[in-house]
């Protein structure tokens, strides 16, 4: 056991760091893109604050197309774009590009469904006070939907973590890469198991933290 850690401890720790870097950076960027898209979907929907068939249609199609491409294929498909942005197609930073690309539409849908949960009566009340659409989105809807948005972020993080491990198969770096390199190509089951344990641990940690935060910020009926 001690021997195992001596040999692989540094490698695993390093790659856990790389995985976290990939996941957190791409989630952050994906949210920067996904939140406006999600808001756009809600606002321009047929019974939204400012219905606009064209904008809604475009957003809806983009989200659906990107979401229907399996991540591994998307990863390979956009390699030219990745090369353009990062300068290479392998390694952690290069993986961030397809991760963002895959996660942003996913996040847009999550944000959309969270915002749609907000009671229509509360929105109507804000309108009756003379609130602008901007105020309604940013001061009412996002605030009222915060628990759901946080839960969504937790799910997004876990999904992106899964994607990042998948990127390991094509030299994406991080724990997934380690699992493939050592566990698969070199038949080192111990390393494979260790990466799985680390990945499970990470998901559990994110999940627990997200739920706790969401609950702490929720003032609706206590169950």
């Amino acid at each position: 056991m001690a021997e195992f850690f001596e040999e692989y401890g540094k490698l695993l720790a390093e790659n856990t760091g790389i995985t976290l870097y990939m996941v957190l950076v791409s989630t952050l960027i994906a949210y920067v893109i996904g939140i406006p898209m999600g808001i756009g979907l809600v606002v321009t929907a047929k019974d939204g604050l400012r219905p606009n068939r064209i904008i809604y249609g475009i957003l809806d199609v983009i989200v659906n197309i990107v979401r229907s491409i399996p991540f591994l294929i998307l990863l390979i498909l956009i390699m030219p774009l990745t090369k353009m942005i990062v300068g290479k197609t392998y390694g952690a930073s290069a993986t961030v590009v397809p991760l963002v690309m895959a996660a942003a539409p996913f996040i847009a849908r999550m944000v959309e469904s969270s915002l749609l949960e907000v009671d229509h009566g509360v929105i109507e009340a804000a309108q009756s006070m003379g609130a602008s659409n901007w105020t309604i989105v940013f001061k009412v809807m996002i605030n009222e939907a915060r628990t759901s948005l946080i839960t969504g972020a937790t799910i997004a993080l876990a999904t992106i973590l899964g994607y990042s491990a998948m990127a390991g198969t094509v030299g994406g770096g991080g724990l997934g890469d380690v699992a493939i390199q050592y566990g698969y190509y070199r038949y080192q089951t111990g390393v494979m198991v260790a990466t799985v344990v680390l990945l499970v641990g990470l998901v559990q940690l994110m999940q627990a933290a997200g739920m706790k935060l969401g609950k702490a910020m929720d003032h609706r009926l206590s169950r």
Partner: protein
């Protein structure tokens, strides 16, 4: 007292609203014209689906009417640009059946919210909000969240919130429909107090005649999207002229009346000059014939005792005629309930 010359605070001008879907066209409102005067507590009453909720949403243009206009304090809402309309809405706030408080903000922040979006400095907003919470009797709950309050308390918060920007008009959309009778009475009393203390004109949308008779001075009866009848509450209550009005006036006891077995039932309505006189007792003494009081319901409307009763008159047709004449002579309105039952069957059929 409103004079002939006074301008209405709200003039609803030939308002129509059509909801169109691919196949259906629903006329929710048909050519509604009403005048609401400053200081009125104006009841708009109708059965569910009559179009009253659409009407109240057209009053502040939350719902754009298909045709017609609403003139508030002399200004046409239809002519207003979005920004102007939003500003106008702060002059006419609204409370709802389901209170519609923000669940993630505490009571104080809910009441401050309309002030903050109206660019009132935070400190001033808090001060104003606290004084309003005091007025609705909830200053101790300022730091609580809506989920910790009862329905009646939540509606009080909603009322405080609605008063935040000192509106001229308060629109109430079935504001007491989710509340029990006692709480309803408290909320109505609060609305009446607000009407008196702030001089706010109140428009009350409801399906319950009891709400109208309790606090309104004027009423409009909406039936399938049109105004069936409008006038002083007492007038409409005493002498309902249209079928819709009859149904609503009788609504509280109507089911019970139709289930009372027996013949020769009449509904009598007391008016101001007869309520203090023991009319029924005098009639029994005069004719020396028993009458059966099947149902009695009296209340205070606008400071004058008002009430209605259902009587079972004797079998003798001649005696019934004499008694009816006597009641009419004493200034009571008399309707035969049996004929209303026939009417209900016809109308409900």
């Amino acid at each position: 007292m409103s004079t002939e010359k006074e301008q209405p605070i709200i003039h609803i001008d030939h308002l129509s609203k059509v909801f169109e879907t691919a196949e259906h066209k629903v006329e929710a409102l048909k050519d509604v014209t009403l005048d609401i005067m400053r200081g009125d507590i104006f009841g708009i009453i109708g059965m569910s689906g009559a179009g009253k909720s659409t009407l109240v949403r057209c009053l502040n243009f939350l719902e754009y009417p298909t045709e017609g206009d609403v003139i508030v304090e002399g200004r046409s809402l239809r002519d207003m640009a979005q920004k102007e309309l939003r500003k106008q809405r702060t002059r006419m706030s609204m409370i709802f059946q389901s209170f519609n408080l923000q669940q993630q903000r505490n009571v104080l922040d809910n009441v401050c919210f309309p002030l903050l979006i109206n660019k009132v400095p935070k400190k001033e907003a808090v001060k104003k909000a606290m004084s309003l919470l005091e007025e609705v009797g909830l200053s101790e709950k300022a730091r609580n969240y809506p989920s910790q309050l009862s329905g009646g308390q939540q509606q009080r918060v909603a009322i405080a919130r609605a008063l935040a920007n000192d509106p001229a008009i308060l629109l109430c959309d079935e504001a007491t429909s989710a509340l029990d009778p006692n709480t309803t009475r408290e909320i109505l009393a609060l609305l009446k107090k607000i009407n008196e203390n702030h001089g706010i004109t109140i428009v009350i949308i409801t399906h319950a005649m009891s709400v109208v008779t309790e606090i309104c001075n004027k009423v409009a009866i909406i039936d399938s999207g049109s105004v069936a009848e409008t006038g002083d509450v007492m007038e409409v209550f005493n002498n309902p002229r249209t079928e819709a009005a009859v149904r609503l006036v009788m609504s509280s006891g109507w089911r019970e009346i139709s289930s009372i077995r027996g013949d020769h039932l009449v509904r009598i309505v007391f008016s101001e000059n007869s309520s203090r006189e023991p009319v029924i007792a005098n009639m029994i003494l005069k004719f020396n014939q028993p009458v059966n009081i099947m149902r009695a319901d009296t209340r205070d409307i606008g400071g004058i005792a008002k009430g209605q009763m259902v009587l079972q008159l004797p079998d003798d047709a001649d005696m019934r005629k004499q008694m009816t004449d006597y009641l009419i002579e004493k200034g009571l309105a008399v309707n035969e309930v049996a004929s209303m039952m026939e009417f209900e069957e016809k109308y409900d059929g």
